[in-house]
Amino acid sequence: MQTIQPQDRSRLDELKHLRDIFNAQNSKELKIAFGALHSCLEISEEDLEVQFNRYFVGPMEPIADPFASIYIDDPDVVMSKSTLHVRELYETMGFTNPLKNIIPDDHLGVELDAYYQLLYLEEAKGITYLSDLRHYFLHEHLSLWVPRFIARALEHSEHDSKAMTFILLQLKSLLIRETTTQGVTA
């Protein structure tokens, strides 16, 4: 087994924490994942969740929906073409999704999970079998919509939430790092 380099460890960890933020089911899980990102912001569990919900969950219309289809296919619906495309990608990657047809496959939390697991195989396990798929997923899918998602959420600075801005900037830098540290040839 190859030894994982510290920079790769933090790359993986950060990805995992961001994944966990978007998959949190309650304030406690959210706060733990947020805290793990080493934010020095002081914020209560409840405030963090209220702000997170206003931005990404609802019940009112969120500032930015965390689904790829909203940015790629149709701003109003989920479970559309790109959702099913991602579903096929997961199946090819060897994943099975226990939340299939319950949570759209292109939910940011699920996509970050897929990306995390693929990267883990490469970096922690030294298995490069799926790296083509990971790069494809990153460059041909995540990069198509996540920047738009981040931009939309950041645009609404009147709702100015330092915590959400922090999360979004972390996501942004992760995406930049992932897309620039790896070369692409067609």
Partner: protein, 758 residues
Amino acid sequence: MSYSKENVESIVNNGLSRRSFLKGLAASGVLSSFPGGILQANEDLNTKIPYLGEKSYKTFRNACPRNCYDTCSIKTYVKDGVMQFIEGATESTYTRGGCCVKGNSYVKRVYSARRLKFPMMQVGGKGSGNWKRISWDQAMDIIAKKLLEMKKEDGTLLGAALTKYSGNFGITHYGIEGMFNSIGYTTRLAGTPCWPAGIDAQNLDMGDMWCNDPEEMKDSKFIILWGVNPASNSIHSMKYIYEAKKKGAKVVVIDPVFTEAASKASQYIQIKAGTDGLLALGMAKIIIDANLHDQKWLDANSKGYKEYKAYLDKEIKLDNVSKITGIPLAMIKELALSFAKAKPATIWMGYGMQRHTNGGSMIRAIDAFVAVSGNIGKYAGGARYGHLNTWGFNYAALSMPKPEGSVGYTGPEGAKGDVAQGKDAKSNYTDRFLNINKTARELINAKEPKVRLLWVACKNVFAQDFDRNQLIRAFQQLDLVVVADQFFNETAKWADIVLPVATQFEEYDVNVSYWHYWLTLNEQAIKPLFEVKSDLEIAAMLSKRMNQLQAGSCTFPQSVDTKAMMVKEFNPGIYEQFGIKSWEELKNGPVKAKAVIPYADGKFKTPSGKFEFYSDKALELFGSALPTYLEVRKPYDKFRMTSPHSRWSLHSQFQNLEWMEDVHPEPYVYINPDDAEAKMVKEGDTVAVFNKQGLLRVKAKLTDNVQAGTVLMYEQWYNNNIYNVNELIDDTSSDMGAFKTGAPGVALHDTFVNFRKL
């Protein structure tokens, strides 16, 4: 590192390359190394069959339950667990393979990004917009504890109120009333905001509300569409009207507004709002005077014809009829005589006309006219309003016993809405009924005990009820407001807890119509998305938690499968009526009730067993035995305002979907050009429409489709828009409704406003 896009796409999209890729994946041992997260390693990669995706559609039977005449039978196409599209079922000759624009948008509705996804609690107080996710268990715990605490403190659960109306008319949805029945005697917002005055009128005249099959209209020789706009709101009925017209029938629309249906008719008659009853009385007088009435039928089948005729002779002056209705006398005569000569002839009365202070009496007057013309009990004839004659289900989900020792209301009993709710014969108690059409003030004024918890289901109170400012006050004074819905609407904004509810595609149900005669199965076509649950499942979860906290406190089943509950709704009577042996036959498609002509045998369910021109019950309840002319509400401001349905929404449903927003993105006030000129308002100007109730700012559209002196604004909820026409409507009652549905209707169209350019 590099990657090849083409290479990956060929693996993903090409069955054979995918097969070998998956084979290699399984062999390489990658699967055992996945770290695990939400997505799991797929141990069952089947590389023997090339992966082609699940390309073929599975189809399911569904129905549109949203309170529309048409109650379409739907066929749903699902691929790999995802709804792809729907179409109207071809088996139903009524739906005949088509849905309306609203129905066709169902995929967008189910997968709308705006759906409520998780149970949530508003932590900063009602209206704060600060929401926290809670689990279903937490939600049920909060609600159950509140209910039990109220019961302990008040000695009864009358402090818990339910308001539910027309968001889902599926039969198992009466399980929400069942949930409230199962916790004890509670408070219900009773009555209907929709059609009560007309229901009472038809029950007084005929002992029932029962209309002929709309498909018969194709053979009618004369059709009057009276205050109804099927070209917008019952599009499937139009084909029968077109067919009749093609065969030579005359189709007349009588309406104060030039509607889409009017544009398709042979003749349009613009009547002054609220004078329809007088027109009907005048027409009856004309045909009797011309000896074109059906004396034989009247002799055999009616009660009080003599008194009715005497009233017409004495009180109805045709010149006055013409003057008050605004219709030339010659036109009235021609209409009445040609209707009487054409056999069979029929009148379809809409639900708008009865929304006046004299609404019930107007429906009675039209019933009487149809009776005089000899068209009741005839194929392709009839005074059509609606019916519940195919609704003979078991209401198993509704019929829950009260928990042992429940204490309830001992005041005077009222009737209970569209579907009667069983009264426990042995009990001295009843539920407490508040008038649904005065929700705001009834919630505020209810005492001993006061209402502390309100459950809202299948309903957007803020879009459907009146007096918004009072409503906010009423909601704010409640300890706990629970809103179970599919979308975050105005009502959810004022809730403490919102519960995400399944669409009909995510649960089992069964549907019939209050207009046509078809029965449709509603199958679960897809898994419930996110954490949505059906209303029945919610009831079961609440029951479980209540019983955990206090055994025996709730009699609703503690786990429920919507399919099993749906099956319980069937009985031999239903099977017999629809000519099937088992509900399973409905999987092959909807079925139609056996042909029947209402009242063809001359038997009416009135006390006399006859058509009652003279009704003792009407005299007792409403002070007039005969269908007489009752003047409409006096104007209290300069312009009459009508607020009909639009074709893009069903009350507040559907308007929030992108397809509807594309064509109808914002509300308007429609003003006659003459009135607009007098007020110096031009097309597109923003105007303030105001009255003693409130003020709305809205853009103007000028059209002579509405009469001078009248403005029109559609009723509905517009997403992200504070417009709500009900802010201008007081809760003044129509004359009838309390007899059969527990509360009078609302005289919505007797609203008066003024406007000015902003």
